[in-house]
């Protein structure tokens, strides 16, 4: 291996450890279990979304609707519990159904209606952003709110549901690991195993690399593509459940950054270990990288408005790693 190969393969990991080392020295209290958990928690929701969008990237597609699926799921959860006064289980099931249905529609639009993936999911994004505001005429959902017909919504978020966002497991230190972090880790391992080790994951990569060859090797290409969007939709709705549980209300203004942060994490993942392709491990590392960077900067008192700029720089550098340095970017 040449130096260049090493740079492509380990460059990003080295950068990650360099970053941690720098913050450890420069920012007081950066190296502590609490700080680590905080970072995990801050990336948990975007991380889940990023893992979902990775599935669509693997089949050569893209899903711009994940952010709005997540906020729609959040609004739906709030509506189910606060307005319809149902329990946590119903809320979770409704959210997952929304994710799966949106994924199916996205896949159908792209595979059967031949709408280009970016446009189909962009359209779906607008549709959902609008749709989630209709039931409450544009208002956020919280216990005691007045409904359009003048009645008062008396339901409330059940404790079981709120626990998804607020409960912390003991891990050496009491009350250390939040549920959302556990969800992220479980989903990351699941999707990583699915993509790397099962025949379905392998064929999804084949579809993304050469659709025609995959079809001539007997793969039902259309089904694979639709499933990828269903995975993406379901993961996004799980992100939405976690978001609702953390906020404890259906907040119309939250979740604006979810899409861009998740996409950035997945694309940064291309550069991890020189994969030059979408991959679950890289996506998780990408999400972590952004989380560490932002947490470190916050602890060093960098102003909040520099955050997006920093994320953008990281993304651009990662893309250069992927496409310019490694030959696999070109075909």
């Amino acid at each position: 291996m040449t130096l260049r190969d090493y740079a492509i393969r380990y460059g990003f990991i080295v950068l990650l450890f360099g970053l941690i080392a720098y913050f450890a020295i420069a920012a007081d209290g950066f190296v502590s279990p609490q700080s680590a958990v905080f970072i995990f928690q801050s990336v948990a929701i975007t991380g889940v979304l990023a893992l979902g969008v990775t599935a669509t990237l693997v089949v050569g597609g893209f899903d711009l609707s994940i952010g709005s699926v997540a906020t729609s799921a959040m609004m739906a959860a709030a509506y189910v519990m606060v307005v319809l006064e149902q329990n946590a289980l119903v809320a979770v099931v409704v959210c997952l159904l929304i994710g799966a249905i949106v994924g199916l529609i996205n896949g159908w639009l792209i595979v059967y209606m031949r709408v280009p993936d970016l446009l189909a999911t962009l359209g779906m994004m607008f549709l959902l952003v609008g749709l989630q505001r209709i039931p409450t005429e544009g208002r956020s959902i919280a216990t005691g709110m007045t409904m359009p017909d003048g009645s008062v919504a008396n339901g409330k978020f059940s404790d079981a549901f709120l626990a998804l966002g607020r409960h912390r497991f003991d891990f050496f230190i009491p009350n250390l690991i939040p549920v959302s972090v556990v969800v992220l880790l479980v989903l990351a391992v699941l999707i990583w195993f699915f993509l790397e080790y099962t025949r379905f994951g392998r064929m999804m990569y084949a579809v993304g690399s050469n659709e025609r060859a995959a079809e001539l090797a007997g793969a039902p290409v259309k089904a694979y593509k639709i499933w990828a969007y269903v995975i993406s939709g379901v993961f996004a709705s799980i992100g939405g459940i976690l978001l609702a549980a953390r906020l404890g209300r259906g907040d119309i203004a939250s979740g604006n950054n979810l899409l861009l942060d998740a996409v950035a994490a997945a694309l940064i993942g291309y550069a991890v270990l020189g994969a030059a392709k979408p991959n679950a491990f890289g996506t998780a590392v990408g999400a972590l990288f952004v989380g560490i960077l932002l947490q470190g900067l916050t602890m060093m008192n960098a102003p909040y408005y520099t955050q997006d700029f920093v994320k953008g720089v990281v993304l651009v550098v990662a893309l250069v790693f992927t496409f310019a340095l490694s030959g696999r970017g070109r075909r």
Binding site: Y197, R199, A206, R212, A213, A214, L216, A219
Partner: protein, 503 residues
């Protein structure tokens, strides 16, 4: 005969890397004559055209036009000098979103002397002049995207002719036209011939060639392998010169088969085509040959479940066989090595091992988890079997030579036992030693299955097959046992000869 040539090329050479594509080509074109250029894929036709039209720089040799040296550096220079090319892809010649008038005058919108402002009235006036000269009966205000393919082609040609060229090159102009549309094109070509334009016409369609040719030039492996200008033209000789007949070197021991594997009855693969009936036997290697575009790939894809036949039945091992998908075909034991491996075969993101296992993931996994050990040992065995030159089964496909890439494609499908093994142009872009290896492997392993090859090159059929079938116009027109082949009859069948003249 016309005496002096308008266009003359001497000793043209061109190579890409080590690959010599043109090896000293000399060509003359005469005013008022249609010269047909024939050649199989990879013979160097398009390279020659691209040199003449200024797309490629020539490696060596000289060209002259009307007695003056002709050395275009860009397509625009060639057009200005009077050599105009209409390329195969019709939509490359027109801008679909603009109207006919603007398309006809497109070349005047740029270049020196073009005015800064776009004057619709002037454009329409100029366009009308061009259209009248060509006797073009198309609404000048129509958008090109609303026109039929034939009309678009007329517009592209009219636009090319607005330059009043001395030489017009038409690259497979009828490949996407219906026969009625083609007739209109031929009438136009006749008029141009009368006006004294020298025309170079590239085509595989024998019916076009019979209709138009004054001379035929055959190309093979980067050289001119035959020039035919004595009337009546020797069409079979031209096909022969194009396909070559280097009388096969190692005679193969021809086998006969007793047990039928695949039986096809009355299969129709295109509108208006005559039905196909054939039987493929156990242990037999059968080659189907024919020119480009006669339906070889369509037949291969029909057998593999990619497309559905219009009529007819298929029986595989005595059971009805009508695959709806490629997956069903594979499950029934019908495997296809598709042509054009870069497009249809290689997954470039995968290494050798992953490319080989691609169709058989299900058989290679336990509870849907891929068994990587089995995958690796299968790949190693196949690399050994076919003599694939590589460092290991983890090599990227892009590191392999063309011949070795093709071996991986064949190895992919030989990893499991097939009932019917189909290979579409398996020797395309493959060097001679890899070709020998693959052919030998196919023959050695033929027992227990039927093997069906689709090849354009006659040599390849003669080298590998027990039986040779000839395809023409979407159907089978001839059958030969590869022991006592009547080459003259075979060539006549390939050329769509006396059996039935121009369709």
């Amino acid at each position: 005969m016309v005496g002096n040539a308008v266009f003359r090329a001497e000793g043209l050479r061109k190579s890409f890397g080590h690959n010599e594509v043109l090896d000293g080509v000399s060509l003359e074109l005469h005013a008022g004559e249609v010269t047909v250029l024939m050649g199989a894929n990879g013979a160097g036709k398009s390279t020659l055209v691209k040199i003449i039209s200024g797309v490629y720089e020539r490696g060596d040799g000289t060209m002259s036009l009307a007695g003056q040296a002709f050395a275009p550096n860009t397509p625009a220079e060639a057009i200005r000098a009077g050599v105009v090319t209409v390329h195969q892809n019709i939509n490359d010649g027109v801008v679909a979103d603009l109207d006919v008038a603007t398309n006809l005058t497109l070349d005047r919108l740029s270049g020196s002397g073009a005015s800064f402002l776009f004057n619709p009235a002037r454009v329409r006036r100029q366009a009308k002049a061009v259209a009248d000269r060509m006797r073009l009966a198309i609404d000048l205000k129509a958008r090109v995207s609303d026109l039929s393919l034939a009309d678009r082609q007329m517009v592209a040609i009219a636009r090319a002719l607005a330059h009043q060229p001395k030489v017009l090159i038409l690259d497979e102009p009828t490949s996407s036209l219906s026969s009625a549309e083609a007739d209109r094109l031929f009438a136009l070509i006749d008029r141009l011939r009368e006006q004294g334009v020298a025309i170079l016409y590239i085509s595989h369609r024998m019916s076009d060639i019979r209709r138009l040719a004054d001379r035929i030039v055959s190309m093979r492996d980067g050289i001119i392998s035959g020039v035919f200008d004595k009337k009546p033209l020797d069409y079979e000789g031209a096909v022969n010169a194009m396909l070559g007949r280097k009388i096969h070197l190692d005679h193969i021991v021809v086998r006969n088969s007793a047990k039928a594997i695949l039986t096809i009855e009355g299969l129709r693969i295109a509108q208006g085509a005559r039905p196909i009936s054939l039987t493929l036997g156990d242990g037999e290697v059968v080659a189907i040959t024919g020119l480009v575009g006669v339906g070889k790939t369509a037949l291969a894809e029909t057998l593999f479940g990619v497309r559905k036949p219009l009529a007819g039945t298929m029986m595989l091992n005595g059971k009805p066989y009508a695959p709806e998908t490629t997956g069903e075909a594979i499950a029934a034991g019908v495997f296809l090595v598709a042509k054009d491996r870069g497009e249809n075969g290689i997954v470039s993101g995968f290494n050798i091992q992953e490319n080989i296992s691609l169709p058989f993931h299900k058989r290679m996994s336990r509870l849907s988890v891929l068994r990587r050990g089995l995958e690796r040992s299968t790949a190693r065995r196949q690399i050994e079997e076919l003599g694939i030159v590589c460092r290991s089964e983890k090599d990227e496909m892009s590191e392999l030579s063309g011949g070795n890439q093709q071996k991986v494609m064949v190895a992919r499908w030989m990893a499991q036992d097939a009932g019917l093994f189909i290979l579409d142009e398996p020797f395309q872009g493959v060097d001679i030693s890899a070709r020998r290896d693959i052919a030998a492997k196919l023959r050695a392993s033929a027992k227990g299955r039927a093997t069906l090859l689709f090849v354009t090159e006659l040599d390849e059929a003669l080298e590998t097959a027990d039986r040779i079938l000839v395809m023409s116009e979407q159907t089978i027109v001839g059958e030969h046992r590869n022991a006592d082949v009547d080459l003259d009859r075979l060539l006549a069948e390939v050329a769509g000869g006396p059996l039935h003249s121009a369709a």
